[in-house]
Symmetry: C2
Subunit: 103 residues, 2 copies
DNA sequence: TTGCTATATATAAATCTATTCATATAGTAC
DNA sequence: GTACTATATGAATAGATTTATATATAGCAA
């Protein structure tokens, strides 16, 4: 458990590195959303969505507020966009490169 | 195995999301390196380093060339910097935020 | 109070990941 | 050919992650 810089950086990236969690963050780009709006977008149990939201929250990537029975989640910082876009960008580059080498 | 965009993006981020692999990428920022130079930098078995290098390679993040007995690895694309820096940036923001709320 | 709704959590099973040790492969030198 | 070096891989294990099912909690309404 060497808790150096790389350790913490890896923890944050690990929180991002799941298709469901990426999709949740994408949904939240449009603004805060109630869990009750997030669940129907994902083909997945409510309990499971709740766990993924918790993982994002523990890593500080999203925050939430309660309003009656409902809980609304939002991106904790808009600079999360930059990270997601840098990774989309790389993905596109690698994809195109792979296409070329296959032709 | 729903292989959509989020799936591939998550795969790439998962390859990044390990302290050892982040450190390897950091080392490679300085230019290509022989495995024999990478191993001593990491407190870790050679076989394990080899596996981590392979994970990075399979994801397209690094590439390698052979020269005699030695194998040299390098970043596959310099835009990997952007991704790593975006994540460092976020990490710093979250860290500072945490410090403030603890004071 | 009871009943209902929205969200979270406990537990367990299945799957995936990281690690080590031992061994294999590939290249060089003799 | 043998001996040596650098890197990769197989097999086993330990540990972490994801998921589903069931249950718990919290807030509202009557």
């Amino acid at each position: 458990m060497a808790e150096n810089r790389y350790h913490y950086q890896a923890e944050m990236l690990k929180a991002l590195a799941h298709p469901t969690r990426l999709q949740i963050l994408e949904l939240l780009k449009g603004g805060e959303l109630c869990v009750c709006k997030i669940v129907p977008e994902l083909q997945m149990e409510q309990s499971n969505v709740s766990r993924h939201l918790n993982i994002l929250k523990k890593e500080g990537l999203v925050s939430s507020r309660k309003e009656g029975l409902k809980v609304f989640y939002r991106l904790a910082d808009l600079r999360i966009h930059d990270l997601l876009e840098a990774s989309s960008e790389l993905l596109k580059i690698f994809w195109e490169r792979r296409q070329k080498t296959l032709v």
